[in-house]
């Protein structure tokens, strides 16, 4: 369940599906645990800039295309 208080929305699941990546594969590629990807995807955990940049690089897009402010 996504955290409704989280001011940050993300499209990681969509990008993962597009790139045909599982959470485990994505986690391995950016050097974190699968749980971290899972919690970021569900909006439970707000990642650091470094992880956000690594995710964007992995998906081949800008950070804004992965993360958006909800307000």
């Amino acid at each position: 369940m996504a955290d409704t208080n989280n001011p940050l929305a993300n499209r990681i699941k969509v990008w993962r599906a597009e790139k045909n990546l599982t959470q485990e594969e994505l986690a391995r590629r950016i050097g974190v645990s699968r749980k971290t990807i899972n919690t970021i995807e569900r909006g439970v955990f707000v990642p650091s800039t470094i992880i956000a940049l690594k995710l964007a690089r992995e998906f081949g897009c800008s950070v804004e295309e992965v993360f958006q402010l909800t307000d």
């Binding site: 986690a27 050097g31 645990s33 699968r34 749980k35 955990f45």
Partner: protein, 149 residues
């Protein structure tokens, strides 16, 4: 890496539970003896509790040894080590330590009121405080690291 990060995390969680149960039994029974609370029950119960305490110490020692061995196993694999201690886990670890510290401080405040009526000296109070603090810390770590899908 032979095992996936998920498998290693599950194994580490199991080790933490063993650590908590073993250490809790050993140190808890040690505190009961130190504080003289064992006088509340008979000799047979005292022996049974002593045996539980010793078994607890064994469980604790094995868990601790396995934790060190796990760390050693991944020392030469920086990528795996980084995944096992990423920013989510570091943040959860810091939160768990905060819980442990708050529990310890809270218990110290409680001790101001109940320490004297119980007749505990400073050493006994220190043992009990360490027990509460560490138990709260490990419990909080286990709670925060639980898997919710």
């Amino acid at each position: 890496m032979a095992q996936t990060t998920d498998q290693v995390l599950a194994y580490r969680r199991m080790l933490m539970i063993s650590f908590l149960v073993g250490w809790g039994a050993w140190y808890g029974f040690f505190i009961l003896r130190e504080t003289g609370l064992q006088s509340l029950w008979g000799e047979v119960v005292d022996i049974v509790i002593g045996v539980f305490g010793m078994v607890g110490w064994l469980v604790f020692a094995v868990a601790l040894w396995r934790i060190f061995r796990l760390r050693k196993r991944y020392r030469d694999d920086p990528a795996a080590l980084a995944a096992l201690s990423d920013e989510l886990m570091r943040s959860q670890r810091a939160s768990a330590m905060r819980v442990g510290l708050m529990a310890l401080i809270g218990f110290q405040i409680v001790l101001i009121f109940v320490g004297q009526p119980l007749g505990w000296n400073a050493v006994q109070a220190a043992h009990a405080s360490i027990f509460i603090g560490v138990a709260a810390w490990v419990c909080a770590a286990l709670w925060l690291e639980r898997e919710i899908d």
